[in-house]
């Protein structure tokens, strides 16, 4: 699908203008210093302004040129994000094995028809590998199970 404007660069340009401006304004609360003795704000403020400037350089031509429109694949994105989030929450509270099983199952939902039995086998196998390689093999202090809600 081609559209009359290059929406990829329009979105990117607008995000950069917002982000760069915010970055500069936020940086201003630190001390600027002088050119000779630059404070912590000097470099970040300059970078923020340049980011916003390049946002404009990206946005303006994109308004007058045909281009594409981003087509995200929502299902894989949502499934992967939730899987990682669940792992981050689970690892401290329940331990490595439950976190791994949950991660595998949620990640499998990224596909339209996740196969049940292979996913279950994979979850168990990955949990076993994780404990053997990381906890036992490399000695990373990650208990297989814990109860710390």
């Amino acid at each position: 699908m081609r559209s009359t404007r290059d929406y990829n660069d329009i979105i990117g340009g607008v995000l950069m203008i917002i982000g760069g401006t915010w970055f500069s304004l936020h940086g201003l609360q630190y001390s600027m210093g002088t050119l000779r003795r630059m404070g912590p704000a000097y470099f970040p403020v300059c970078i923020g302004i340049t980011v916003a400037l390049f946002g404009v350089l990206l946005l303006l031509p994109a308004l007058r040129r045909p281009g594409g429109f981003p087509k995200p694949e929502w299902r894989p994105m949502a499934a992967i994000c939730i899987a990682i989030l669940a792992f981050a929450i689970g690892i401290d509270r329940l331990g490595l094995v439950p976190a791994t099983v949950v991660l595998t199952i949620l990640a499998a939902l990224a596909e339209r028809r996740p196969p049940l039995l292979p996913t279950a086998i994979l979850a168990v196998a990955l949990a076993a590998i994780a404990v053997l390689v990381f906890t036992q093999g490399l000695g990373i202090p990650l208990p297989a199970f814990r109860w710390n809600l």
Partner: protein, 505 residues
């Protein structure tokens, strides 16, 4: 001669059992992920960065480097057998490698790519060995202003010479520079952009950033696209790999030409292995007396690019090791690994850590020999690997990413960072922004700020110092020329896009 003493020191270091083991792990993993499409050297190196906290610096760098050049060997296997490039730089190998496979000469193609890889890799290491100490010697006389100008040139070159729009490349470098500012300001101790989150006072974690941008986003994008799990119909026997005399004769000069092209483009920032391999193919087609053979299974169309990308993978270490300027994202991660280990990259590396520098180079020789062994007798194993479906691979990749990043600080906060950067990386992929310049900017950002401040302090706040010092002025002139060229390209592209729109109606 001095160089032999240095190499002896290096081999002594590289043959230490621990380093030998990590070298093997590196090239083994490199071949594995090189063979498999859908997971690249960048994602793997970011996944293994956390491991480097637990092993000595030399072993860590030897392993990470092994993944990088090992992937260049493996990349062509899937290209020849399935017409699917295992790594971006192996895309050229599809053009003539797959037709060779169709004609029943897949075995010869696989053997010749390994030979070509070895030739390119070995010559690349010789160039690396010969030029690095001299370059480091020159760079020792650089002042802070020269460093700042050189880093600026490196970033601009990487952003404008890489694929895609130069404006977007520079934009990504700038975003990377901004992200690099997060954390404690080294000179004043001020907390910048930390929002009172204690985990951010050490800065954003490079491991989390790289894993999110290269690992998670790649997984999200590949799930619906990846069609691995195909079995190659070909049975590769030793007999089928024996090349004819013609094959060797036709490949000799193309391999040398490919190596030359690869060596030059590998050492330049931003160009790298992929561009080198495409260029080597184009050159072979141009000089050939029978250009019509290309695309039909011409052996030199496989060997020249293969030598080029392997030579480039070795010479890419020249600016990284001697100047501390990474040419691409992989080199940026290598630099990050050194900084994690407390080693300051730059010209002093050769003199202050000779065992690391020469040990790393010696490990390249050993690694390349290991790769020949891994790729020739064991080719059957790699072909079987291609039958693993992506459905099994991606949950494992995600798991390794999560555990790896957690293990760095034993902190679940870093996993959330991976998640954030994964989403950002996927959005960038959709909007067609390259993540590699961002990582370069992220790593060089704090160094640039430090050199800028030091230069300004030394010159008592006079910015003319950048033009008065000849080295810095030279770098700035090249930078300006690149920017002008990039601007002209952007204007031309804009006109073209609009003209096409008018023509389309």
């Amino acid at each position: 001669m001095d160089m032999f003493a240095n190499l002896a020191l290096g081999f002594g270091e590289a043959f230490a059992p621990l380093n030998l083991m990590y070298c093997f792990i590196g090239v083994f993993l490199g071949t594995f992920i090189g063979v498999l499409p859908g997971i690249g050297a960048l994602a793997t190196i970011s996944m293994l960065l956390p491991l480097t906290f637990h092993v000595p610096p030399t072993a860590a760098l030897v392993m990470l480097a092994g993944i990088y050049y090992g992937a260049q060997y493996g990349g062509s296997t899937a290209a020849i057998l399935l017409n699917l490039p295992g790594t971006p730089s192996a895309a050229v190998a599809c053009l003539d490698g797959y037709p060779m496979g169709q004609k029943g000469r897949a075995g010869v193609a696989l053997l010749m790519t390994t030979v070509a890889s070895f030739v390119g890799g070995s010559l690349g290491i010789i160039i690396l060995t010969a030029f690095s100490p001299a370059l480091a010697g020159i760079a020792l006389s650089f002042g802070p202003a020269d460093y700042f100008a050189m880093m600026l040139l490196g970033l601009v070159a990487a952003a404008t010479l890489a694929q895609g729009s130069p404006v977007k490349g520079i934009a990504m470098v700038l975003v990377g520079l901004a992200l690099g500012m997060v954390g404690t300001d080294v000179q004043t101790g001020a907390q910048r952009f930390t929002f009172g989150i204690p985990e951010l006072s050490d800065g954003l974690s490079l491991v989390a950033l790289a894993m999110g941008l290269f690992g998670v986003s790649e997984v999200i994008a590949s799930i619906n696209r990846m069609r691995t799990g195909q079995r190659s119909k070909e049975r590769i026997t030793f007999r089928s790999m024996v090349p004819q005399r013609n094959d060797l004769r036709q490949s000799a000069f193309p391999m040398l030409r490919g190596t030359g092209i690869g060596a030059i483009f590998g050492a330049l920032p931003g160009a790298g292995a992929t561009i080198a391999s495409f260029l080597a193919y184009a050159v072979e087609k141009k000089v050939s007396r029978h250009p019509e053979r290309f695309g039909q299974g011409a052996i030199e169309g496989v060997t020249a690019p293969e030598s080029a990308n392997n030579a480039a993978a070795q010479t890419a270490f020249i600016p990284t090791l001697t100047l501390g300027i990474p040419g691409d994202a992989v080199m940026a991660l290598m630099l990050g690994a050194m900084i994690i280990q407390g080693i300051q990259p730059g010209p002093r590396l050769v003199t202050e850590h000779p065992e690391l520098f020469w040990g790393l180079i010696a490990s390249f020789w050993i690694g390349n020999v290991m790769l020949v062994v891994l790729n020739l007798p064991l080719i059957g194993i790699w072909i079987k690997m291609l039958a693993i479906p992506y459905r099994i691979l991606y949950p494992a990749i995600l798991l390794f990413i999560c555990i790896g990043v957690f293990s760095v600080n034993n902190n679940a906060f870093d996993i959330l960072l991976v998640l954030v950067f994964g989403v950002i990386g996927y959005a960038m992929m959709l909007l067609k922004f390259e993540p590699a310049p961002l990582v370069l900017g992220f790593i060089l950002g704090p160094l640039m700020e430090e050199h800028l401040r030091r230069a300004m302090l030394l010159s008592r706040g006079d910015p003319m110092v950048f033009l008065e010092r000849p080295i810095s002025a030279g770098f700035l002139m090249v930078t300006t020329a690149l920017l002008v060229w990039a601007g002209m390209t952007a204007v031309k592209q804009q006109r073209q896009a609009r003209r096409m729109a008018v023509a389309a109606g």
